[in-house]
């Protein structure tokens, strides 16, 4: 097989952008920002993936989904690499990904993490403010945090005081 038949990496990125996150299927792996690199090493495709949370149970499913998707597109030699550093941050969720989250009913992360990794919420609280999280259903900013932990490691539980609906907030990390 000649090297020229290998699909370009732009094409690989495009294919990966079609692979949904297994737990939040409205966003793709590229929206989530966990694909760190795609490159050909000889005739082997090396895809570098970073985990969201250390113990996220979706990690092994994500690897399986990437492999299944790329095999379905005819990729034969595939090497999935795990890269821990720099650690994944919600800052890497794309603007499109944030909109998809909101439309799905999950409030997207507010602000970002500071360069030293300090969480936006904590910085804001130290300055005497609470982060304002907008209800993804009715748009009200009159919302309350129920718990810093939610239905998956990446989310917190909130409640809207206007429309009274509970909702998930994709917390900053």
């Amino acid at each position: 097989m000649s090297v020229t038949t290998l699909p370009p990496t732009d094409q690989i990125w495009e294919w990966l952008s079609q692979v949904p996150d297994p737990e939040i299927p409205v966003i793709s792996l590229t929206d989530l920002g966990i694909i760190r690199d795609v490159e050909w090493q000889g005739d082997t495709l090396v895809v570098t993936v970073t985990p969201t949370y250390s113990g996220c149970p979706a990690t092994s499913v994500i690897n399986l989904d990437i492999e299944a998707a790329l095999r379905a597109h005819g990729i034969q030699k595939l090497d999935l690499k795990r890269q821990l550093s720099p650690a994944w941050t919600t800052d890497w969720i794309t603007p499109e990904g944030r909109e998809k989250l909101r439309a799905y009913g999950i409030a997207p992360p507010v602000d970002g993490t500071a360069a030293d990794g300090v969480l936006a919420g904590r910085v804001s609280r130290l300055m005497g403010n609470n982060l304002t999280i907008q209800c993804p259903r009715c748009g009200s900013t009159h919302t309350q945090k129920v718990s810093q932990f939610g239905s998956t490691p990446c989310k917190a539980s909130y409640r809207c005081a206007d429309c009274l609906e509970p909702f998930d907030y994709f917390k900053c990390i």
Partner: protein, 283 residues
């Protein structure tokens, strides 16, 4: 040219097996294989996360409120994820062909290196939260220091774990304050928990030969160097919680060397049962 495999129908069973192998550290001896102190240190980090993670997971389905149940389960998950990273690296450095699972499931109590604090029974919700707070306040300082480790693998794991543990500490500190400065009942329980657990905190800051070797190599800080920051965090939270730490309490130790309370064996009996009864079982 040999015939190509069917490229449109992935063999999911084979892929699943491959993903399982690839999700853990592959047992390839590292160039630094055979550094017993380094392995020992990595086991301490991994075992603290594993045993506390297992303890916290025992609340799953039993917590006083749904939100607490979810929060505890999520923290258990974080800790067990971190444990996989630490023990995976321990196995790699050890270079004896073991992996994180072998270290978690096939060692006996005497080979575990966790602090005694994290193996203590959950007790009531107050004991669970106080134990979590006392450990989180130590854990975050250790991870912060490890971010500048001379070993980049250690620094990478620490940077990842620190972000998660920041949330753990925020929650445990908030709840210690809320329940300490709460009703008579909640305050009494939090004070009882603090008094009970205090004599297990000293072990966190005792330096031994392993710690000294790690500090000399620039891999990890001396545990004693973390105490001033821990003292400061704990004092501030306890003051706001209207709780008083005991003074001059006898301090238990031994976990870092494998001398454990009777509680660890019971944890392992449950945690290791499947791999002991059905060696090599996977699903």
């Amino acid at each position: 040219m040999p015939s190509l495999p069917d490229m449109t129908t992935p063999n999911l069973t084979a892929l699943a097996g491959q993903a399982l192998t690839e999700s853990g550290h592959v047992a390839v001896p590292a160039p630094d294989a055979g550094q017993p102190e380094f392995v020992e240190f990595l086991q301490r980090m991994g075992d603290n996360a594993l045993i506390l993670g297992h303890r916290v997971s025992e609340w799953c389905g039993h917590s006083p409120a749904l939100e607490e149940d979810i929060a505890l389960a999520n923290q258990a998950l974080d800790l067990i994820g971190q444990c996989q990273l630490w023990l995976g690296l321990a196995a790699e450095v050890e270079g004896k062909g073991r992996d994180a699972d072998a270290l978690a499931y096939l060692r006996d109590a005497g080979a575990f290196r966790n602090l005694l604090l994290v193996e203590l029974p959950n007790g009531d919700f107050g004991v669970t939260l106080m134990r979590q707070f006392l450990f989180d306040a130590f854990h975050i300082e250790m991870l912060r220091a490890l971010k500048t480790s001379s070993d980049s693998r250690v620094a990478d794991i620490a940077a990842k774990a620190e972000k998660e543990v920041a949330y753990h500490l925020e929650r445990s500190a908030d709840l210690v304050i809320r329940l300490g400065d709460g009703t008579d009942e909640s305050r009494a329980r939090m004070q009882a928990a603090l008094t009970k657990l205090w004599s297990y905190t000293g072990e966190m800051f005792v330096d031994d030969a392993v710690d000294q070797a790690m500090a000399d190599a620039g891999i990890a800080p001396l545990p004693s160097s973390l105490q001033p920051a821990w003292d400061k965090t704990v004092a501030a939270v306890l003051e706001e919680a209207t709780l008083t730490a005991p003074t001059g309490a006898w301090q238990h130790k031994g976990g870092k060397k494998g001398i454990h309370t009777e509680h660890l064996g019971y944890i392992l009996a449950e945690m290791q049962f499947l791999q002991r009864a059905y060696p090599g079982a996977r699903w």
